[in-house]
């Protein structure tokens, strides 16, 4: 009894750290990766805050004058000469003006209606767009849309790629050939063209973009996962699992998947960056998120005509939000790959 208890206690104190623990230790030693992780975490917090409505909930409100300047530039001086409204009594035109008899009636009616014109600010923190909407609020909302589209599309594509890759690599044979055929078909058409063909058929909308990107982008995950399963299916631990009666499904997803999950994770993060860029381009071309929504791509689209008018702030805001996120995320992905698989370390 005593012996068993002490035996059970030993692995706890002396167990070797798992692959994730080791990876986390390596990652923590990488200062650049930690900074990147902090930036990505900040963006994640921003997306959540925007999603629940804490920030940028009223991004559609027209708070400023059209193309309001950023605050540090000061308000635009209106140089156009305003025509003064003539004062004094109206000139009597009743002899020639057929509407003249009704002016008094209309004036009375007009006086009954109270109109309040909301004050529009002449400057905003970082400027306004064509409708006077705050560019910062817009960029935050755009961040939410772009990142969520990228993440969900990547999750879906990874799920598809992993499932197909697992089946192809694990079973091989006819199922494997069928999957290989699928893979060949999808990679035969250049990626962007495939996306366009799907977009032509499915139409527009945020969920549609996610679907299109996922359905066209699973191939890279598939290829790597299949190769991993081919390698793992004959290993001792899988044979041992078979010996104790684990089902095919259990062997595929409970035994092998955790051992190849680092490959999947790296592919997932590569896809996030790729899909965010793809979404930006699709939205820019008008094939992405709908017009009542905003993403980095639609902001860049508006910026195209604004630039000629000298209104550069929307371009700057969208670019800065995107560049910081993508740089941080790519850096983190590289570090993650190095940490999970030190043999791959390059340069």
């Amino acid at each position: 009894m005593n012996a068993i208890a002490s035996f059970a206690a030993v692995p706890d104190s002396e167990s070797s750290p798992g692959v994730w623990q080791l990876a986390w230790r390596r990652l923590r030693g990488d200062r650049v990766a930690m900074v990147a992780l902090a930036v990505v975490a900040a963006y994640a917090a921003l997306v959540v805050a925007s999603l629940v409505g804490l920030v940028a909930a009223d991004w559609t409100r027209e708070v400023g004058v059209p193309y309001a300047n950023p605050r540090f530039l000061g308000p635009t001086v209106d140089e156009s000469v305003k025509i003064e409204r003539p004062s004094g009594p109206r000139v009597d035109l009743s002899a020639v003006d057929p509407l003249a008899p009704r002016y008094a009636e209309w004036d009375a009616r007009a006086a009954q209606i109270q109109s309040v014109s909301a004050p529009h600010l002449s400057t905003l923190t970082f400027g306004g767009d064509r409708l006077g909407r705050d560019v910062i609020a817009k960029a935050i909302k755009g961040t939410q849309v772009s990142i969520l589209v990228g993440v969900f599309a990547a999750l879906l594509a990874t799920a598809i790629g992993t499932a197909l890759g697992a089946v192809a690599g694990y079973f091989g044979g006819v199922a494997g050939d069928l999957m290989e055929w699928f893979y060949n078909v999808f990679t035969a058409v250049p990626g962007i063209l495939l996306i366009f063909a799907f977009a032509a058929v499915f139409g527009r909308g945020t969920a549609t973009v996610v679907l299109i990107l996922a359905l066209t982008g699973w191939t890279a995950v598939y290829r790597l996962v299949r190769a991993e399963y081919l390698k793992h299916r004959g290993r001792e631990y899988v044979l041992a699992a078979e010996a104790i009666g684990a089902s095919h499904f259990s062997r595929m997803f409970e035994h092998i998947l955790p051992n190849v999950s680092h490959v999947v994770l790296v592919q997932l993060s590569l896809l996030v960056v790729f899909f965010i860029k793809a979404e930006v381009i699709l939205s820019f071309l008008g094939l992405g998120v709908p017009i009542d929504s905003v993403s980095w791509g639609t902001m860049l689209n508006e910026a195209q005509s604004e630039l000629i008018l000298g209104k550069w702030w929307q371009l700057a805001a969208a670019t800065a939000f995107m560049a910081v996120f993508v740089t941080a995320f790519s850096t983190l992905t590289d570090a993650l790959r190095d940490a999970l698989d030190p043999r791959l370390r390059q340069g």
Binding site: V185, V189, K277, L300, M322, T327, G347
Partner: protein
């Protein structure tokens, strides 16, 4: 060599059949009804029925698949739904503009990136190398759109060194007048990723034993790099160019849209926006075929570059 080529060609058949089926069922099941798209908004039921009959849409799907196959084989896709222009004619008239822009981009990008990639690979780990890698990471994080937007504004509008956009009928005018700005911008954008990629190719080769042997033998550094390393790195570089070639035919959609170049890429985008199915279907299928042929050609070229490569 010939038997290899023949076998590879034969292996393309199932893949191509798959692409045809994918395109057919994608548009059949998920696409809108072609008859309503063609007929427009004010069409009567009778008109729609008439169009359905002409297109064969009232017949079973395998007959429709047969019609589709006949169109592919005979290269007769009929006319674009939007402009009534024959699809084949549309291809032939739009392709030259695309090639005028895309071929110089591909050539310049390769020619510039090889020395860049080799240069940073040789000094790997140094400050120059790390700075170059950091710059490319940041450069890659900014959307392609931003470079073109700002570049077009700066060089076309603000400095007015180049025309902002436009195209003419003369190839020469196009090349020296209208094409330089798009070519330079696209090249500028593609240098960062290509340099990164080529650097990794060169790094792979630099780690091999033959490099150490060549150095031990007393070969000059230039000889080691240009004769030994370069020759071996040509294979992955060729593969990379081969994968990019089909894209050249489509052209960069964005470049053509930004600069109003009447090329194939812009035409495809217009077709997507107008639900012009015949154009999209034709482009997808022929481009898939072209991609496969180019891949085959690249594999055959390896043999020429590197006699050690066994084709089997």
């Amino acid at each position: 060599m010939l038997s290899y080529a023949l076998r590879r060609t034969w292996q393309m058949v199932p893949t191509l059949a798959g692409v045809v089926l994918l395109v057919f069922f994608l548009f059949k099941w998920f696409g809108g009804d072609p008859a309503t798209i063609i007929a427009g908004l004010g069409a009567t039921q009778q008109q729609i029925e008439a169009i359905r009959h002409t297109l064969g849409l009232d017949r079973p799907w395998w007959v429709q698949l047969g019609i589709f196959l006949r169109e592919i084989v005979t290269l007769n896709w009929g006319a674009s739904w939007a402009t009534n222009e024959p699809v084949a004619h549309l291809f032939l008239t739009r392709l030259p503009a695309t090639l005028t822009v895309m071929i110089p981009i591909l050539v310049l990008q390769t020619v510039v990136s090889i020395p860049f990639g080799l240069g940073v690979a040789v000094v790997r780990g140094s400050l120059t190398d790390r700075a170059a890698m950091a710059i490319t990471t940041v450069a890659l994080s900014v959307s392609f759109l931003v470079y073109v937007l700002v570049g077009q504004w700066l060089f076309g509008f603000y400095l007015a060194w180049f025309p902002i956009q436009g195209w003419s009928d003369s190839v020469l005018t196009n090349l020296i007048h209208y094409a330089p700005l798009p070519i330079l911008l696209a090249m500028f954008v593609s240098i960062a990723p290509t340099t990164r990629l080529y650097r990794s190719f060169f790094l792979d080769e630099l780690g091999h034993d033959y490099v150490r042997t060549a150095r031990a033998r007393g070969a000059s550094e230039a000889r080691v790099l240009l004769r030994h390393v370069m020759r071996n790195a040509t294979i992955p570089i060729l593969t990379n160019i081969a994968t990019e070639l089909p894209g050249v035919v489509v052209g960069s959609f964005l470049i053509e849209v930004f600069f109003s170049i009447p090329g194939l890429g812009r035409e495809i985008l217009l077709a997507v926006n107008r639900s012009d199915y015949p154009v999209i279907q034709a482009v997808t299928i022929y481009l898939a075929l072209l991609t496969m042929l180019i891949n085959l050609l690249a594999d055959l070229l390896y043999r020429v570059v590197d006699p050690r490569v066994r084709l089997n």
